[in-house]
């Protein structure tokens, strides 16, 4: 059997990310492999200026990462950088996809686009949003609204650096889901590919009785579907079970 004979996913990741690789390998179906290239980016996200700098520098290094992964013959790129894909508003996410596709010569899915697509495909119009960020919440709210999704509440953990984000225990995810689950929300989205979520998505969906979507879950889902892997994977939420 060939390695990755059903498809190979190229993860384009911010350099400090320590969550996306183990999370994708915890759910990948037999026959699919994932390979990572890193985008150098500064890690300070404590204020607006630094947050934008992290996104700018990270995005600038995206094409280099795609070129590296191209030599590993991947079938799809997953630009797994939520902030870097929403921070300039709707349209920028598609622009990033175009740049990566051009540099790497294969289709690219982007986290922010994938999140909006997952939310819409599940028929959700109003969502609560939780993030690890300190300052970018209005940008994310604006992005979803531009995509036609209303945000009933948005709350951040106010973490000072992107490295701190990767060190959060899974309880922080559970707390965030509860905190943004307003009565009028039809579902919850938890942002950031460097924030652990996958192992507790099912449990939180049961607890709140609504769909829960996360950055990594939506990214992996969009990447797998893009290469025609339609397996209904159990244990990682309604999105993977039904869509």
């Amino acid at each position: 059997m060939e390695l990755g004979e059903r498809g190979r996913i190229g993860l384009v990741l911010p350099a400090m990310n320590t969550v996306a690789e183990p999370e994708i390998y915890s759910i990948l179906p037999e026959g699919v492999t994932a390979h990572t290239a890193r985008m150098y980016a500064p890690v300070d996200i404590s204020d607006e200026e630094n947050f934008v700098r992290m996104c700018d520098v990270g995005c600038e290094n995206g094409e280099q990462a795609a070129k590296e992964l191209a030599t590993a013959k991947v079938d799809v790129y997953a630009f797994a950088f939520t902030a870097g894909s929403f921070y300039k508003g709707a349209g920028w996410d598609e622009e990033i996809a175009r740049r990566i596709e051009k540099a790497g010569g294969a289709p690219c899915i982007v986290t922010a686009t994938a999140a909006a697509q997952a939310i819409k495909q599940m028929g959700l119009k109003r969502i609560g949003v939780g993030t690890p960020y300190a300052v970018a919440n209005q940008r994310l709210k604006g992005f979803f609204e531009q995509k036609g999704i209303a945000v009933t509440k948005i709350e951040g953990l106010v973490l000072p650096t992107a490295v701190h984000v990767g060190r959060q225990p899974i309880m922080k995810f559970e707390e965030l889901v509860r905190a943004v689950n307003t009565p009028d929300a039809e579902g919850v989205f938890i942002s950031c590919t460097n924030f652990v979520t996958l192992s507790k998505i099912d449990a939180m969906e049961r607890e709140i009785g609504k769909p829960v979507i996360s950055s990594n879950q939506a990214t992996f889902w969009a990447a797998l579907r893009k290469i025609g892997v339609t397996d209904k994977i159990k244990g990682v939420g309604r999105l993977f079970r039904e869509f």
Partner: protein, 242 residues
């Protein structure tokens, strides 16, 4: 948190798509792997080609430092052999200065593995040209080993990872001679983890692959003794009490 027992950083040649799937398949609980890629010029292994890659290692080390890895590996085999003994130790020293955690290379890991297996006479199998295979022999002999047989079947860099595990199996079987106490299979991008146990049963001696030796050595450096069974006798041995 992932990697609660240990976070391993891998510097890999940009085209590698074997080491991470092999590691995530067999790693014990609590161990997480993070990779960064180094672009390589040229489709055949040579000093020019491999050292165009090493030019990108510094950036890779910076990136893995941001991940706060507990140990870091230069996951390319031939590079260490090309420059002869001493180069990879210097790479390790520089890397450790930068990262503040243990750094190692594939070949230094291999030497640790052979030490644990108490073997002095070895056979080697590689997908390299005879010239590169000879460099491996020189390096290993300078390190106190006797290479009793070297067998190589040259494949250009981009197609090494297209080979099925049976390629490594038959190459290693061909490399083996009665005088060899162990057989080594080289290249981190050559699939072999699936066939190591079967090969050991056929040959009746330990078989060490590049990736298996790396995993053994990084777990040893992390003082992790969780057993891994079914992927060769090396990984079944204790790592911290030798």
């Amino acid at each position: 948190m992932y990697g609660w027992k240990g976070k391993i950083g891998l510097l890999v040649p940009a085209g590698n798509r074997v080491i991470i799937p092999e590691f995530y398949r067999i790693a014990p609980p609590g161990i997480a792997f993070f990779e960064t890629r180094m672009i390589v010029q040229g489709s055949w292994i040579s000093e020019d080609s491999n050292f165009s890659m090493i030019g990108n290692a510094e950036r890779g080390l910076e990136e893995l430092k941001m991940c706060k890895v507990d140990v870091c590996v230069l996951a390319c085999t031939a590079t260490s052999f090309l420059k002869g003994k001493g180069w990879d130790q210097a790479f390790v020293t520089e890397g450790e200065k930068k990262l503040g955690v243990p750094v190692t290379t594939t070949v230094l890991s291999l030497l640790e593995a052979l030490k644990v297996l108490k073997t002095k006479r070895i056979a080697i199998a590689s997908p390299w040209t005879p010239d590169i295979s000879n460099r491996a022999v020189e390096y290993l002999e300078a390190s106190g080993f006797e290479v009793v047989h070297a067998c190589s079947e040259p494949i250009d860099r981009i197609r090494v990872n297209d080979q099925l595990p049976e390629f490594a199996y038959s190459l290693a079987a061909k490399a083996d001679v009665p005088a060899a106490e162990a057989v080594c299979i080289f290249a981190t991008d050559l699939r072999s983890i699936e066939i190591l146990s079967a090969l050991e049963k056929t040959l009746g001696k330990p078989v060490v692959s590049s990736n298996q030796a790396i995993l053994f050595n990084v777990l040893r450096l992390l003082k992790d003794d969780q057993p891994i069974t079914g992927f060769g006798s090396l990984l079944e041995r204790p790592r911290t009490r030798i």
